[in-house]
Symmetry: C4
Subunit: 206 residues, 4 copies
């Protein structure tokens, strides 16, 4: 019923997804943070400032859904952006915040939203079964004040429906899913679509 | 005589080609499907929705040449596009449907066909022994209705000669060969040629 | 207190960072050199002309802070650019000189400095905690005369503050940090930012 | 004195360089061929049509300096382009013919020669010790007639000095050196320089 995983399995899943996503260049220079639901009241999240390609269980800590540490380490300042998603979507299993070059660059180019359409890979997102839709991925202005940034995200989350992700300008992507596997598939699909969009922008019309 | 492989070898070949092609970014986010002929009446094909970089034999099933399941799993909706090729080409050994960024992007840019010429690597396609030809790779409009899409492909297959592949716009590539090795070489050659074409489009004339 | 490492650990750290950075294409064709402080008076540095992806301890030698060999091998001509940094920053632990395509290309395009701003990843640099700054990365003209080149770098080092790196036009990047880990994080951040800058230059305004 | 290697070592070196260069995308779809001098009268060369990333000793054969097979397999049609280099340069140890996307694309764009200058990595070529030179890499028209193509190359080889490589339009690169290691360094340097040149062409002037 619950999408959560016991802490050891949650931590192992984050170590593995960190290794994979770092290897693809999506978590450079200790950037990004990754989380996985444990149960209705807590989640596992990466400790601030760690090398995401070389995580071990000691780099994962528990926080409650308000972002308060349940372990002695310091959670990342961006923990708040994770916990608001788990509070909003009871079925949510994992949140992946990544910093790829393509997400960074597109988020500075497209204004308030990136429209995605006419691409078969949109079907990789849960609940989408055709390429004949337009998905609007919002881009929020970057902000070092997490409360203010979370408030902007909250207003968007109250719209319906929302795609399983958003961009922060010059900063990166938040993506999520009902399990670590789903979130990873959504992340992979977003990054594929970003690369397509940038490739199309690079080539002038025929 | 028959280009087919017994099911265990066919499945092992698809697991391996899935791992390779996923590693190159050609099968992202559970997209694509891969098949290999078993005999005159059946083929092995990937089960719908599986991670193509982590396939095991349990992710491969048998279908007949009309696309009917011979095993309890659900075949992909696109199985029809595979089986029409095996029916059309008795000597066909394998079909690889992939979703690379370059195939996706080019297929949305080039109109009804991608012309390929003056490239030595065209000689990688079976039966071609010079760069001094022009190969026209057709691009079909994307369609969630597989019967309608297969009918458009069928009309093109009846022309002669056809290159060992076609594009679907915003979707990806179908490529094939008389063995898994041949199909893999054709796929690799198409992806190389796509990257060349996109690179040439990116640079303005000298 | 001292940021140095005993020679065997310093050499092992350089072997590892060489393998990593070569694998990413930042040290092609025996280019580049890598150093790590041993103590207040000496450092470990790669011997001239070695394959940086296949270093062993035998490819690492000791020099003093004036660049004089403390071991029988020949230090690289660019050793002088390393030692001036260790003399200038007593807390410096490592210097990484790399030759990526992006550093080479950007350094020939941007004039006297590359401005970096509005990018969250600027926070990867020690002492920076916001994206709302502008970091000016200087670009020095390339020169085979190391004394003359070092003199130009020295004048810039006397300005305050300096980012943990500089470019040489058509040549590459020098980056550094208080430990090998810090220097590696700075290098990774610079290369990420270079890729972003080039990607943005490639796409015309929307 | 002789730059040659006994056949078993020559074959092992070609297997390894094939694996490396295939992994970088420089030998796609069975393209390319690799050779290494055995002695004054013979060389080891890859058999035609083999997968260059999965070579074994059985994929390497011996030919004399006129290109005649000394083993039962069929040498590649392009063997003639290898043997003319060994005849011309008595000190030559290895020839690597590769098909990268960048070599293919640049060779179709730059006319009769690719000028390379103001790049520190030019120093990777044997005998060059400054970036302040201009190296002119010739581009020959592609031709399926190897005798005719070799004659054009021969006229260029008689000029002095020549860089350790040339391009064939829409086809790829020949590069060489006095040992397999030198040839591999030259290949890596050429590919780095090609990537720089293409990156610079992609970005309009600042």
């Amino acid at each position: 019923m619950s999408p959560g995983l016991p802490f050891p399995q949650a931590a192992a899943a984050l170590v593995e997804i960190g290794r994979e996503a770092y290897g693809r260049g999506w978590l450079p220079a200790t950037s990004g943070n990754l989380s996985c639901r444990i149960d209705a009241d807590s989640l596992a999240i990466t400790v601030s400032g760690r090398h995401k390609g070389q995580l071990s269980v000691a780099d994962i800590m528990r926080v409650d859904l308000e972002g308060r540490a349940l372990d002695p380490q310091r959670p990342s300042a961006e923990t708040l952006l994770h916990t608001q998603l788990y509070r909003h979507f009871p079925e949510l299993g994992a949140v992946l915040h990544t910093h790829s070059v393509n997400a960074t660059v597109l988020s500075r180019m497209v204004g308030e939203a990136l429209p995605l359409h006419d691409l078969e890979l949109l079907k990789a997102f849960q609940g989408i079964d055709t390429h004949e839709i337009e998905l609007l991925l919002p881009v929020f202005a970057n902000d070092q004040d997490m409360v203010r940034l979370a408030a902007r995200v909250a207003r968007w989350l109250d719209t319906d429906p929302v795609p399983p992700g958003y961009l922060i300008a010059g900063h990166g992507l938040y993506s999520w899913g009902n399990s670590v596997e789903n979130a990873a598939r959504h992340l992979e699909a977003f990054e594929f679509l970003f690369e397509c969009e940038l490739a199309m922008k690079r080539v002038s019309a025929p």
